[in-house]
């Protein structure tokens, strides 16, 4: 088994077609489903849409957000899967796709 990070990009819970509460519940059941199959190492955390960006040799600090709303990372989870294809397959059930969002699947680098 290998570890993967899901980065949740964009998506709009408030504007979900089935209503925000029902949408949140679908997230819960999807994540809990992954947990029940032994694929979830950590539920992860949501991220604030704001922050600071520090860049360059001069360490210039600018205010976030750092991407357009549709690409903004809103949270992450830690997943366990056989390979990246399986990890990508497991992401298919994520409710984020119904609200215009995307899931980025990134393998955790192993030595």
């Amino acid at each position: 088994m290998s570890e993967f990070i899901y980065l949740y990009r964009g998506g709009d819970t408030a504007g979900a077609p089935e209503g925000p509460e029902a949408h949140m519940q679908r997230w819960r059941s999807w994540l809990e489903g992954l947990g029940a199959q032994g694929h979830l190492k950590d539920f992860g955390q949501p991220l604030e849409p704001t922050g600071k960006l520090i860049a360059g040799k001069s360490k210039t600090v600018t205010d976030g957000p750092f991407a357009e709303a549709k690409d903004l990372i809103g949270g992450f989870s830690l997943i366990e899967a056989a390979d990246v294809d399986q990890a990508a397959q497991l992401a298919h059930g994520c409710p984020i796709f119904d609200t215009g969002g995307a899931v980025e699947v990134r393998p955790v680098m192993k030595m």
């Binding site: 819970t13 408030a14 949140m24 819960r28 994540l31 949270g75």
Partner: protein, 407 residues
């Protein structure tokens, strides 16, 4: 929550209060996605809203004018947090809800607009849910709310519930709005039973707020009794397919005895003063139904008597119709028909499906199936919801059965 924030921010900053609540709600959902819903989600939301309010007050206090009566305390960093803590105490929250409720029932607003505001600010309904509850389009509901909000924002401050005279003067409008809110849930057009039960539950909850603010008017007790006695039957009014079950065929063993007892207790409290209201008589009628062991054993004579009293203080064609139905139950279908036809100005009921349905019902009991069938057809043409239509179609079909198999 909007009520509390509106008192802090001032009624002119209503939109800001709504934004803070909306924001608290969105943040909660994002966190709950990952961490699960906490045991007490509303307490959690309150805490988030309080923190957001604090942020807003710190950030905007120089730019915005907040509630004038709190301005001085809010301006001082030293007083800011305790003031907010105080405002978010449970008793302060329920007082603010009461203030907001009286503010929403502004006489400058139509009754429908008042109810829409109550649903928005006190029940947290979204515009979409309000549109569904009233069976109107999203745009129409939004327009109604926006217009009502601008009237509310002009009013200078939340209603002062401590002023006894103002309170008494506005109270009937508030009772009326709560009554209509409950009725919308009980008889309303929304086909979703979940929406309807929500409306009834909210009407009960808000009426309890009035009961917690002494001195309580006897009409408020009567109103609450009426709601309890009707709500006790809520679960038995629809069958599994969502069709209406008439009172006579409801499973009385499934009526909620606790709610009936609560209703009767408040009906007794309502009788302690001299004042009577339409709610007294309606509650008394509901109590007779609730206590009858079966439809056949209902004391229809007393019900007719209460309708007579109700007509004296609230003459209405629908009340006359109900009286005629009760009379027919008590003295036979021919008397019922005569009473229905004797209603002055029957054209006032021409659009109301249950007038034609009542004519049909009594004609059917007199054995005149063809006449009954015609009346039910008229009623079907007037049905205001799929649920009513389905019910009336079943009654019309019952007439045909009689014709096909004369007994």
């Amino acid at each position: 929550m909007v009520a509390t924030l509106t008192r802090i921010f001032g009624v002119h900053n209503l939109a800001l209060a709504e934004d803070v609540v909306q924001d608290a709600f969105c943040r909660a959902l994002e966190v709950w996605k990952f961490r699960g819903v906490p045991d007490q989600p509303s307490a959690w939301l309150m805490a988030v809203a309080k923190n957001r309010a604090l942020d807003v007050l710190r950030r905007e206090r120089t730019a915005l004018r907040f509630a004038p009566e709190l301005a001085q305390r809010l301006a001082s960093e030293w007083m800011l947090v305790p003031t907010l803590e105080e405002a978010f105490e449970p008793h302060a929250i329920s007082d603010d809800q009461l203030r907001m409720m009286f503010s929403c029932c502004d006489p400058r607003l139509s009754e429908n607009a008042q109810i829409a505001l109550v649903l928005r600010f006190l029940c947290g309904f979204t515009v979409r849910e309000i549109a569904a509850a009233f069976l109107i389009g999203f745009a129409a509901a939004e327009k109604r709310i926006v217009r009502a909000k601008s009237v509310l924002a002009e009013s200078g401050g939340l209603f002062a519930i401590d002023n006894r005279d103002d309170f008494t003067a506005r109270l009937p409008a508030v009772q009326r709005a709560l009554y209509l809110l409950f009725n919308e849930g009980y008889h309303g057009a929304s086909p979703e039973s979940a929406v309807r039960a929500d409306l009834c539950r909210e009407a009960l909850r808000l009426t309890r707020l009035l009961l917690n603010h002494p001195p309580v008017a006897t009409a408020t007790h009567a109103l609450y009794a009426l709601m309890c006695l009707h709500a006790a039957r809520l679960g038995t009014r629809l069958d599994a397919s969502g069709a209406l079950i008439p009172l006579a065929q409801q499973d009385r063993s499934r009526w909620d005895v606790a709610l009936i007892a609560e209703g009767e207790q408040h009906l007794d409290l309502a009788a302690t003063g001299d004042a009577v209201s339409e709610y007294h008589f309606e509650a008394a009628i509901a109590a007779i139904h609730a206590c009858a062991p079966s439809a056949g054993e209902t004391d229809w004579k007393r019900i007719v008597g209460f309708y007579d009293l109700l007509l004296r203080i609230q003459p209405s064609p629908v009340v006359e119709l109900n009286r005629a139905i009760a009379l027919g139950e008590s003295e036979g279908p021919e008397r019922g028909l005569a009473a229905l036809r004797a209603i002055a100005g029957p054209e006032r009921l021409a659009e109301y499906p249950f007038y034609a349905a009542a004519l049909g019902e009594f004609e059917l009991r007199c054995g005149r199936e063809t006449a009954a069938h015609e009346h039910f057809q008229t009623a079907i043409g007037l049905a205001r919801s799929p649920m009513e239509r389905r019910f009336l179609e079943l009654r019309a079909a019952a007439c045909e059965e009689y014709t096909a198999f004369p007994s």
